[in-house]
Subunit: 150 residues, 2 copies
Amino acid sequence: MNCEYCYKLEEYNFGDLLFESSYWIVFLAPNQSNLGTCVIALKRKARYLSEVNQKEWSDFIKIVNKLENSLKTAFKATMFNWGTLMNTFYLEDTPDPHMHWHFIPRYDHEVKFEGEIFEDPFFGYMRPRPPKKISKTIRVKIIEKLRDNL
Amino acid sequence: MNCEYCYKLEEYNFGDLLFESSYWIVFLAPNQSNLGTCVIALKRKARYLSEVNQKEWSDFIKIVNKLENSLKTAFKATMFNWGTLMNTFYLEDTPDPHMHWHFIPRYDHEVKFEGEIFEDPFFGYMRPRPPKKISKTIRVKIIEKLRDNL
């Protein structure tokens, strides 16, 4: 992590660093039940989407394009869910709200990768799934595969 | 509705027209269980967020700012969920995927408006709620209130 703020972000448990842009950091999310799920966090404190400035938006739009293309090429993802919800920050004993996006690739097919099978049994629906147990090695391989296609 | 495409959008049941910009149409969503919930639909066919072009993004960003400010002023909304999921289009017997956003204001308090009480019992969480039964008159009043604050 290069900046002071990125360091601070570690307490949020957004996942493993995939890449960084000028204004955002992209993490491979802890839960890979949907292969390639990422979190995209702003590199400064913001609580509302309407606080994101012009430069940050332009930078974010490039990330949208990069991630969708990367996932289509790497794993033939069918489509994508994008959302910035920010809900959990408003529960008790949680860190300050921090602007971030969820990127969830969706699949109408199963993907075999490095000996693991990744499925999307609720394709067409939004239903949270428990984290898929995968080894650290597989996580690193997913990161490498996505980076190769960025 | 001014354009051919807007007319076509009627089959999607996105709600009642709130306002239109150059590239998007903003609807008051059918389900007002969270007061001020809107759908923002692109005025041309697109399936992926990465298909949205620069002009459309700039226009969308203005809508983000307008809606968040409007809801803060009109109903003192606490925070907001934004998402483009597109899931249901991939089920059987559904219309073609059509790029649209969901905007869901969230409240840490109840709002009394025109004799109706609007609550957000799952504040801090994402849990779909059944549509709140409100009269057409109340829907029109909500639209007027938001338009007054745009």
